[in-house]
Symmetry: C5
């Protein structure tokens, strides 16, 4: 039984953001499919939501190196 528990930590840190970002883009795709002309307005909200959710996983990546 070898390996660092930090890898599990990063793995768990990606679980929520991965599903969350997928939910955001999934809603965006559904929205564009329903109203293609709303694409511009939709993508603005998508990029803001994507950035703040993705950041949580990136922080987990950083934390896996910093804390030992």
């Amino acid at each position: 039984m070898t390996g660092s528990i930090n890898v599990i930590g990063y793995a768990l840190a990606t679980l929520g953001p991965a599903i969350g970002v997928a939910m955001i883009f999934s809603s965006a795709i559904n929205g564009i499919a329903r109203q293609p002309e709303a694409r511009g307005a939709l993508m603005g909200a998508v990029y803001i939501g994507f950035a703040v959710v993705e950041a949580l996983a990136i922080l987990g990546f950083v934390l896996a190196f910093v804390i030992r």
Copy 2:
């Protein structure tokens, strides 16, 4: 392998409340998008639900310091 298992405890304690509060606000946003004039009546139920769900995570934060 260092660190306190209390941090994992708090992390698990935020899992449910985070998804729960998000479900409440998500329903509120959907409801307001469908019937904007029902905003006042909706937000009353939202704040009550938000408070009792968020409290569970705050208790987890307290517990992480109290129990060692």
Copy 3:
């Protein structure tokens, strides 16, 4: 690292019943909102479902004291 693993056992035992009972009542609330006159017929099924699901968590509470 102190504490009993039985507390984690009870915690996991409440995870399913809590979500399950919430799904039952959520469906009941949606059903009553759609057809308020069906309230009596709905609540009969709700209480049966609630009892058999809640019992699983209560059994977990008992088990946490009995098995050591």
Copy 4:
């Protein structure tokens, strides 16, 4: 801290099948409620799906006794 980790293994092995079989029967109940005359055709697919999903949990029960 006593007990066998095989019990946790069986518990995890029931998690997916339990939710899966419930999804199958839930879809069947919704389908019958919508088109009661399609009951025969529906139940054929239900029993096939139920059998292959339930088998995974039964295998977990067997495995808990076989592997030590």
Copy 5:
């Protein structure tokens, strides 16, 4: 308490892909049931999505043998 933690690693690596591939095919089946003539266009997207999601579980299978 015997066994390799790599088996748990592979098991967790199949959790997401299994649900993900099921979501892809479930959407495809719903789509074909609604518009049977769109079958060709649908299955193209299905096979691309299936391949990239399934690959993650296959990589977990490889990793369970490679890393010790």
